[in-house]
Symmetry: C2
Subunit: 124 residues, 2 copies
Amino acid sequence: MVFSFSSDQPIFRQITVRIANDIVNGELKEGDQVPSTNEFAKLLQINPATAAKGINILVDQEILYKKRGIGMFVSGGARAKLIKERQDSFRETYIAPMLNEANQIELSDEQIKQLIDEERGKRK
Amino acid sequence: MVFSFSSDQPIFRQITVRIANDIVNGELKEGDQVPSTNEFAKLLQINPATAAKGINILVDQEILYKKRGIGMFVSGGARAKLIKERQDSFRETYIAPMLNEANQIELSDEQIKQLIDEERGKRK
């Protein structure tokens, strides 16, 4: 798990997002143990309180769970839950801003769909 | 022309973007006179050098032009030129990141296109 911090978001938020991403992309699997708050803090050279804040968001969402005296693990169903959340926000995060821009620059929905096909073709 | 600065981008860049947006959305029309660098600086309570930096980008792109001793104006063809630029970057700025996210969260192109139709339907 390699971290590089950007200045756009608070560090605790970047930790939350990065762990969640690693679960979605399969780098962290359900049942896997994740580093403890103190290990994270040491690894990333950040304040333990900051690491705890980022991690506890995922504990509160039941994406991670703690086994007392053993460590912290990825919950069963975590990946599906994170994917569902991101699917739910996809329209607001991607579709709506794209249509706003398309309106401004006079691109039709047909042209957008064609660009999707072209971009997809380029990737195959 | 109302400005509010965000912290994400340097102020000179926000000035460039905002004037360009006003040309695209028609608030500033081709041939319209725009405030001088010093008027901008006063209006926005910023350093004249910052205002000049933001404005000169548009002068260099021939979106704005100066008439010596008279003032600064929106060039003929400015709107079409700005729209063309934004159309050219639309794929990279909107389509590609959207498809990256769709891949991660397992949305098909068909599902994306359906979301576009739904979002469009909501707006009508």
